[in-house]
Amino acid sequence: MAADLPVLTGVLLEQRRSLMLWAAAVAAVSALYTSFYPAMGGADLQSLIDGLPEELVTVLGYDKIGTPGGYLSSTVYGLLGPVLLLVFAIGAGARLIAGEEEDGTLELELTAPVARSRLFGERLLALWLDVVVLVGVLTITTLVLVVTLGIDVGLSQLLAGSTALLLLVLGFGTLAMAVGAATGRRALGLGVAAGLAVLAFMFDAIGPTVDAGWMNAVSPFSWYMAGDPLINGFDVPGLLLLAAVPLAAAIGGVLAFMRRDLMV
């Protein structure tokens, strides 16, 4: 592998420590929330939610929090997991090309006998592998606790949720990398991807309350959550829409990266 993908290997070696810290954080957050379920979840929580205004419950995404799958959707999978993973993926995506170009560290790699498309591809692969590792950590932590605590969520529901979460995070991470690669500006990559992620989250949350279906139609968060994968399992149309984002961003990013002036 070292001989075949030297750029990827270099990135992974460089960031191995930071990835481990992120993995520990993701595991801790997943474990904390999931293990609260026996204490908070079930009928008690449902009666608490019933006392809240209906709109507030919808905006908070707590409408199904009384069921085990709904609880995971509202907490690990619907809020803290995505937030943590998106912060990582958008930050890493913006840094992996634009950030390193801006601070100059990419110059030696760009002037080595490596094609730009390959450099982009291997760095993208590094980002994707990181995200796979972190979503894997989240999934395994949750799975272990679901089994130990006897929470009633099936393996296939869990995997459906994780797959959709993975694609969601890949989408925004790749977008950050693509915008950065197209412009050479790390801040722009960060800003565009983070801004759109926040917008997507808001659209998903307020779309139902203000009766604006288009908000949910265009929000990747809705593509992720609308089918309730942790209750209903794999939602193929949603997954396809989610998968289109990283692919489109990657193609746009690499084409722009191959054309422009670098290290300006």
């Binding site: 270099g10 070696l13 110059e107 002037t111 080595a112 006998p113 490596v114 002036d261 670098l262 300006v264």
Partner: protein
């Protein structure tokens, strides 16, 4: 047959409204050490970045080994060793890890020369990059540029950050590369850095080549500062008319002037008077270099320009 390794023809590069290169023409021949001189911001790094396909020319054409950098791609860059002008490195990796990584990007070429080159420059390979001083980072840059014995070395301000002893070691390395047949293209804003190794020198100013000559000719153009003391005041006008003599100044009985070419006419004119003492000092090439810097942009090289800036 003289192989042209680097060729630039009417190379123009605009950054938005700013014209960084205004039509650069250059030919660097196989096996020569070519000095590329100019003040900061004259277009040295821009030219170099076009050669490495980091930048694409707005107009004109650049060729390295007969192909445009963009068309040559990775196989072309495999034949080049490049030392960036502003070398930035960071991270937890050690210098050795970074160098081995860069060698892997070259399919392993140069791996076995990392240790000997590092020893030669006193670079500690097990130190983390981010703790290295500017000079040590520059050593990493030198090692990675030379380790794979490239056919062409493109060195942007290579000696900046190196102490004088290591500068000499570096120049030895350049000579060795030349002796084994490599071509070296090195930029600098100080002439003395390239004077000892370079055969030919181009001077770039405001995105244009204002002079291209071999170092010896450049030195002849630089001329001598001549100082003559007479026993009694002399008529300064006579000296102003002499061929090859310029910048004539008379201070009481001491005459100073700038002499380019043969001293014959000056000596004969002086011999008409009682000469008490005389001295002739080679002008530093640096002074000539400054002439070009001060010259208005569209004045062509070769014309007489005042070197007086004091």
């Amino acid at each position: 047959m003289t192989d042209v390794v680097i060729r630039a023809e009417g190379l123009i590069k605009d950054y938005g409204d700013v014209r960084a290169l205004a039509g650069v023409d250059l030919e660097v021949h196989h096996g020569e050490v070519f000095g590329f001189l100019g003040p900061n911001g004259a277009g040295k790094s821009t030219t170099i970045r076009v050669l490495l396909d980091l930048l694409r020319p707005t107009e004109g054409r650049a060729e390295v080994f007969g192909v445009a950098p963009h068309e040559g791609g990775p196989p072309l860059r495999a034949r080049i060793g490049y030392l960036p002008g502003e070398l930035t490195m960071s991270g937890r990796r050690t210098a050795g890890e970074l160098l081995r990584h860069l060698a892997r990007l070259r399919a392993g070429a140069g791996t076995q020369r990392i240790v000997p080159l590092a020893e030669r420059f006193g670079l500690e390979l097990d130190r983390p990059i981010r703790g290295l001083s500017k000079g040590n980072k520059q050593k990493v840059g030198v090692v990675q540029a030379f380790m794979h014995d490239p056919e062409l070395l493109i060195l942007d301000e290579p000696t900046s950050g190196l102490d004088p002893l290591l500068q000499r070691e570096f120049l030895d390395l350049v000579r060795e590369a030349r002796d084994r047949g490599a071509t070296v293209f090195m930029s600098s804003h100080v002439l003395s850095e390239v004077e000892d190794v370079a055969g030919r020198v181009a001077i770039i100013r405001a995105g244009r080549i204002v002079d291209l000559d071999d170092v010896r000719t450049l030195r002849r153009h630089a001329g001598q500062h001549v100082r003559l003391r007479f026993a009694e005041p002399v008529a300064v006008e006579r000296f102003r008319e002499l061929p090859g003599v310029s910048d004539v100044a008379l201070d009481g009985i001491t005459l100073t002037c700038l002499l380019r070419g043969e001293p014959d006419a000056l000596l004969k004119a002086a011999a008409a008077h009682h000469v008490v003492s005389w001295s002739a000092q080679d002008r530093e090439l640096e002074d000539l270099f400054l002439d070009f810097y001060r010259m208005p942009v569209d004045v062509r090289a070769g014309q007489e320009v005042s070197a007086d800036g004091r």
